[in-house]
Amino acid sequence: MLNRLGSEQGATSLQYGIGQGTIELREQICEVMSLSGITGASPDDVVVTVGGQQALDLLARLFLDPGDVVLAEGPTYVGALGVFQAAQAQVRHVAMDADGLVPAALEEAIRANPRAKFLYTIPTFQNPAGVTLSAARREEILDICERAGLLVIEDDPYGMLSFEGDAPLPLRARRREGVFYCSTFSKTFAPGLRVGWILAPHAVREKLVMMSEANVLCPSAFAQGAVTQYLTTMPWREQIKVYREIYRERRDALLSALEDLMPAGTTWTRPSGGLFVWATLPEGLDSKAMMPRAIAARVAYVPGTGFYADGTGRGNMRLNFSFSAPERLREGVRRLSGVMEQELATRAVFGGTGPITPQRRRGSAAGDAPGPDLA
């Protein structure tokens, strides 16, 4: 495929392109979005970005001034927290339950922060919580935001990775106004190519393009050509079905291992798609303090603290089921359970150690102690 890209389009794919992204790819992106239920989008309103990360960065640059408040799920995507932190904005977390964002909690957050700039949300197979905003709640959340005049940034990298029928329609499929839709080819094709996009309301699309040009001049023409080739010549819809099957099997393996092996008092989410399970530890366990034991036992997780801007999350951890085969996942849970049992035993010996106090973040997210990458 890449050979063909080189021989047929070598000259253009190694040249500068336009800041908005190639028209061929933007047309393809509209087709991809129509599969998720976003119909009638114009390629004119699509801005191709360097991965989903640049999409968030452009929106932050466009809307945020130092000190501004952003509402986001708690927990939320660590890369978004990094972008908002770089823009010197403050993140206020909004609670979720098994059906995603809690509407009453959102209303409360808006009352407490009437000047919040936007709601950043990953409604489908949320990272890191794994939960999905129910269809009924999607309407409620959109109504609340519309009434408050609050913009919505819908981040949807995982929506196609559904294991149980189709995911609920994206927010952008329900409302055209006031919703910025961001997605990426990282989870469905190749993260190394760094190709993502924003579908923006027409009025601000031009501003985003100008910012992107100031930022990166233009997204990589070669990477865009590769994605276009992939979408036009390869059976990518079938490939996504294959991913869904693989990930569903792995999710099932992880969930049944958790069921069989986790110490009492542990709870976790049951995702119907995506890549992540969010676990809540038994009272008193601290996922960050426990990390060295886990590394010694050769098992890895991401401590919950990385997914909050306010230092909470010590009682949680993110488990990723997409990368390892089912038997490895089970072995990982077995080791993790042993680590938790040891930590519980130590805590029992020392008679409970008082409340876990949130700690201020110093330096990078992982700077307090070495740990795995958070992406």
Partner: protein
């Protein structure tokens, strides 16, 4: 004769990232002096590589247990490959903080009073009673650290008796034995000692001033969280005592080639040795490179000379 050196870096420890940074820096420094050097991880491909094409010497830039507890050095001895730094037996002694402190005390080198206890003693004897005894015997504040380990991981200052249990739990996540010692308030110093064949000599003393008061993992490896002063801002008489004490510790522990002695000078101007490191960090923000730079010597020249010493030792043996 052109020397060929294998730089060992990486390893599976909490300090892997630091080690990789140290390793790359050592590699560049050696190459700048014309020594042929290659980087290698401490993994299953190491022994076959050593056997297939034995290097003239190994420089160990591994931190944490693999690089410092003497075990890898023992394996290098088995392979007959010379290496820079302390021998296996000495490294084992220095790595275990309670053993090293006992040796220092025997030699009359001041080190804060301490007790070292494994996790199991707390569960057998009852943690509350044992912690009570520790506090009434050693007083407050206390420093809790894993008996083995580096980079300040798992270490905590305890100012209130009520916080001791939490510090113990944090420490036992890193090691099954904890070292609890009297916390000495004062100026934190690192004394790097190098022996290029004419006996051990101390490099300029580095003074460490962590922004938040505690020189923990984040303070060590995050730019901006720590300020260093080289040479340390000490009265000449105090600096001389610190150097003498550090050299005494180096000799008492039987160290070789290069090492870093961690010292704290209490408010009354007395030096206390906290521990030593047989495989000191060599990253941009590590203490030994700062001292070498302040001494006006080149890291590559120092390492090159140490490599030649190691090769010479092997030839004589």
């Amino acid at each position: 004769m052109e020397l060929r050196v294998l730089v060992l870096a990486g390893g599976l420890s909490y300090e892997r990232d630091v080690s990789l940074r140290s390793g790359r820096r050592v590699l560049d420094a050696l190459k700048s002096t014309g020594i042929e050097a290659e980087l290698h991880d401490a993994d299953v491909s190491l022994l076959p590589a050593l056997q297939a094409d034995p290097p003239d010497a190994v420089v160990i830039a591994l931190h944490g247990a693999t690089g410092e507890d003497g075990s890898l050095r023992g394996v290098l001895d088995l392979c007959g490959v010379p290496y820079v730094g302390a021998d296996a037996r000495t490294a084992r002694l220095a790595w275990d903080k309670p053993s090293a402190k006992a040796r220092l005390r025997e030699a009359g080198i001041p080190t804060p009073d301490w007790v070292a206890l494994p996790h199991d003693r707390f569960s057998e004897l009852g943690a509350v009673a044992v912690l009570d005894r520790i506090v009434s015997r050693l007083g407050l504040p206390l420093m809790v650290k894993p008996a083995q380990g580096g980079s300040g991981l798992g270490a905590a200052v305890v100012r209130e008796a009520a916080d001791l249990a939490a510090a113990m739990v944090g420490c036992f996540a890193y090691d099954s034995t904890a070292l609890v010692e009297q916390y000495v308030a004062g100026t934190s110093l690192a004394v790097s000692i190098i022996d290029l064949g004419t006996g051990p000599s101390a490099l300029p003393i580095v003074e460490i001033v962590p922004r938040d008061g505690v020189y923990d993992y984040a303070a060590r490896y995050t730019a901006g969280l720590t300020t260093w002063h080289v040479p340390a801002r000490l009265e000449p008489s105090v600096a001389a005592r610190v150097t003498e004490t550090a050299l005494g510790a180096y000799q008492a522990l039987g160290l070789r080639d290069l090492s870093r002695i961690d010292v704290i000078v209490s408010e009354d101007g007395e030096p206390h040795v906290l521990g030593c490191n047989v495989s000191p960090g060599l990253t941009e923000t590590s203490l030994l490179p700062l001292a070498i730079q302040a001494a006006g010597v080149d890291l590559g020249a120092v390492l090159g000379a140490l490599v030649e010493r190691a090769v010479g030792r092997a030839r004589r043996a």
